[in-house]
Symmetry: C2
Subunit: 391 residues, 2 copies
């Protein structure tokens, strides 16, 4: 059992009637606001109007960066950084899901750095200690970026998707109204739900350092919640209870409340699919995860995989861990491809094996000795084999 | 499902090798330290020497308040307050368990108030917004005071034990080394473990506002951990894994990570036993809890009580919630009096019914309409009946 430091000073206003607290929270951090958002969905569901009205009525001037897409581009972040410097932005208000929040984080870090290009900052790969303060209005349950210190940045010129992290990137405040996620499509809901589940799974028992029973218990509680409520939200988009459970699960899943979380094997492998083919992150995770489990399954990992099936998917206890592990993998398969009805192969998404070699190398590039750590560690050759299993 | 605000900016250093970070953390808050501790146990186990050496080597002057007892007295707190004012204390270092931390909180709040007597502050019953910063070195897994905004104060002159609470009372930093709890007696360990379990149980389903599935899941995870590891730590005091699980469970149990926690029915009823008879808090909880469950059991509460047995004590699913609830209560009884081997009646502790009327009134005094809220609310008459069941 490893020593750890727990620190999570993000304030969350959760529920239907919390937005009224936005002006008082903004005021703690500054007056000049950069409002970051994605496509037009927040204009359709009234959130844009509610937020801008509150800022207007309470005397907050703001500038906007709209049009943030999935897998946030470094070029968009650079645009936001330039706006911050030109307009003297003091606080960033991110209204959206993971991509919008991650973009806000990239901007927040770059704006107070010596760089004008976030990619320079990514390449330095130092911990981000300082950044502009970020306040989040969450509209999607998925990445957990609203309550953690991580962000992803995509460079579409070089097919790279990399991580920027550090305590400065933890949002100061997150507003989480589950109703704001009612308008997500069935596909987005399914992908987001699996992203939540995988954040925990990627840091579970298999990660090799999770032997703290209470943390495993908490991780299982969050995975069970994601597994239970994702199908309900897919079927009934306006089910408040399901949306609320998923939203809070999203925030908990990659926060250090569930242990010393980091991007694990599946995330490393899946990010390359988004970097090369711009496919939805949660979907690539759903395709990778059951193959990865199958690939790493051996006598050492079987007890952990078997426990996953028992605790998260409610399978009966199996005396033989190999049999239990095999049933667990079947349960994950069934969850992704029958219950959530996601397409199950890369081939169906139009992806062939042409870049697997390069992608596998990229996936391992940020780990010591080009090896993804875990109970069963993975070399580029292993990762390539896993990609092939997904065809 | 109610809206909620989540905010828990306490930094926890957990594990064997964290004490070296004490000087840097102290330095964030000041130089002049008040060191608060209890009996001599920290002198026996070397903690006192380690802490004072670190302060000496790093140039922190300090004054001491020693001899804090269980059920912390307002007179001791007043003594600490006077020291703070006289010596210009900037930061309070509490080395001990719940009583030491609660005393430190009373001192921290009173020292920056207009009062010299903490009981005046208690009587005002306002939320404590400001206090001297508190750093904790935890030696006992029980009250959760190390990571929450509450403290208890006992007035032995008036037989009153009351609550002081507010965001100012959250410790800034907590050092949690499970080894520091190795020297706890079997009795203290059993009482502490049940205190942890009851903090969650008192805010579980029965509290009437816990319908958020993910929170119930997290609560059950922590209760399971307490139920699993308390007997192990009682039998093997030096079992690091058991002590570690209990220590982190203690911190989580009454923090708002598990929901909008407050003192519930059992705590309100049990605190009077400590106020009148100075008995160990966790033991009074163990005596009260199964009787309280029996008393509130009806068609409305049975599903919640039945779920407790299934999820926390691993009972088989019962189709009839009344049968399931009855089995759950038996499991709680068995846990307290057979597994933890605590004495099961007030009579055995030398307590008769002479003050039950007055105690029952006190227990309800701080609730609107003299009624403890919950799925099954309780009047003073109900509380008196529960006390009688404990004879």
């Amino acid at each position: 059992m490893n020593d750890f430091i727990f620190y999570n000073p993000c304030k969350v206003y959760f529920g239907k009637s919390q937005l009224k607290h936005l002006p008082e929270e903004l005021l703690h951090y500054g007056k000049m606001v950069l409002l970051v958002y994605g496509g037009g969905s927040i204009k359709k569901n009234g959130l844009y109007e509610a937020v801008t009205r509150l800022m207007m009525e309470n005397g907050f001037p703001w500038v906007e960066l709209a049009g943030v897409q999935a897998n946030p581009r470094h070029t968009v972040i650079n645009k936001g950084t330039a706006i911050c410097r030109e307009k003297g932005v003091e606080v960033i208000l991110a209204v959206g899901g993971g991509s919008v929040i991650d973009s806000a984080k990239g901007i927040a870090a770059t704006a107070v750095s010596e760089y004008s290009d976030v990619w320079e900052l990514v390449k330095v790969s130092a911990s981000v200690e300082k950044a502009l303060p970020i306040i989040v209005l969450l509209t999607s349950a998925a990445t957990g970026s609203e309550m953690n210190t991580w962000s992803m940045v995509s460079n579409v010129e070089t097919n790279e998707k990399k991580c920027l992290g550090g305590p400065g990137l933890l949002p100061k405040v997150a507003f989480e109204n589950p109703e704001a996620s009612f308008s997500l499509s069935k596909y987005q809901t399914a992908c987001g739900g699996f992203d939540i589940l995988n954040h925990v799974l990627d840091n579970y028992y298999f990660a090799g350092d999770s032997t703290f029973e209470i943390t495993l218990e908490l991780q299982e509680a969050v995975m069970r919640t994601a597994a239970k409520f994702t199908p309900i939200a897919v079927e009934n988009p306006n089910n408040y209870e399901a949306r609320a459970n998923l939203m809070w699960a999203s925030s908990l899943a990659l926060s250090n409340i569930l242990g010393d979380m980091h991007h694990g094997a599946c995330h490393a492998i899946a990010h390359e699919l988004s970097a090369y083919y711009d496919i939805t992150h949660g979907h690539s995770l759903a395709i990778i995860t059951p193959r990865w489990l199958q690939y790493i399954m051996d006598e050492k990992t079987a007890p952990a995989i078997s426990r996953l099936g028992k605790k998260v998917f409610g399978l009966d206890v199996e005396l033989d861990p190999i049999v239990g592990a095999q049933k667990s993998i079947e349960a994950v398969n069934q969850f992704c491809f029958q219950i959530l009805r996601l397409q199950s192969t890369l081939t169906e998404l139009g992806i062939s094996d042409e870049s697997f070699e390069e992608m596998a190398h990229h996936a391992c590039a940020s780990f010591p000795n080009l090896t993804i750590p875990g109970l069963r560690s993975l070399t580029p050759q292993d990762v390539k084999s896993i990609y092939k299993m997904c065809l």
